[in-house]
Symmetry: C2
Subunit: 126 residues, 2 copies
Amino acid sequence: MANSQNSNTMKEKTALPTVGSPVRGSESGQPIMVLFDLLGRRWAMGILWGLSGSNRTFRDLQTHCGSASPSVLNTRLKELRAAHLIEKAADGYSLTEDGRALFKHLEPLGDWAKDWAPTLSNKSDL
Amino acid sequence: MANSQNSNTMKEKTALPTVGSPVRGSESGQPIMVLFDLLGRRWAMGILWGLSGSNRTFRDLQTHCGSASPSVLNTRLKELRAAHLIEKAADGYSLTEDGRALFKHLEPLGDWAKDWAPTLSNKSDL
DNA sequence: AAATTTGCTACTAAATTAGTAGCAAAAGTA
DNA sequence: TACTTTTGCTACTAATTTAGTAGCAAATTT
């Protein structure tokens, strides 16, 4: 299959967030904001979530992520790889050590969200 | 000042994420994805972060959030209020109980990010 | 009662994402 | 070996979201 991505194929418009530089959503360039910029991009967290269970191929991720268009999915995969949160394994994409560590912190949010989410429909007053 | 926002002034195009319905970034409508959709929107996490220290007025948030344009900031504030994560107090916007609980889970990410972020510049190979 | 500050709304431009089509390399099959 | 299917993308246009600027009315301060 076409693994045509060599080191400098990424002709992105969107800069990868880096420490010390202003990122989308913050001028500070503080680590937490860099992280938030990255994770805030569409499908980013969904990908991490999807890979937490098992490795997945591109096509696999595509269907798992509902309807993610290949262009966005691929862009996000590149970014997450550049951020060393995911990597390519023999059987598809997988979380790196860093990615797994991050997921550990993200996971509790899932449980919290289960309690929180229902209140949206109930208390909703806007 | 103009508190012209009565219950149904929100003529948004973007739907507020709710449980059970597909959200941006996921078709599942699972709580965690609803949360991610909400938090993933530009400035959302930055606002929570900003309010975690102290209450802030609209204008205050604007400067704190770097350069957030009033339109986006206001949209986000409405969404976060609808999600019961923030609310209006006498001295500006503040986190609700839910918001504070969520922040408790988000906070550790800040520490983790401090260790992770530097590796971006070092290991970067894309 | 001015002057200033606050909390927005409105509008246009720029950036990001969605969505569809398609193709070359790899893998599987006969 | 030749053929078929699957995988991993790239390219392109349309739709949606965000940025950015201007401005105004209510509240607050002087």
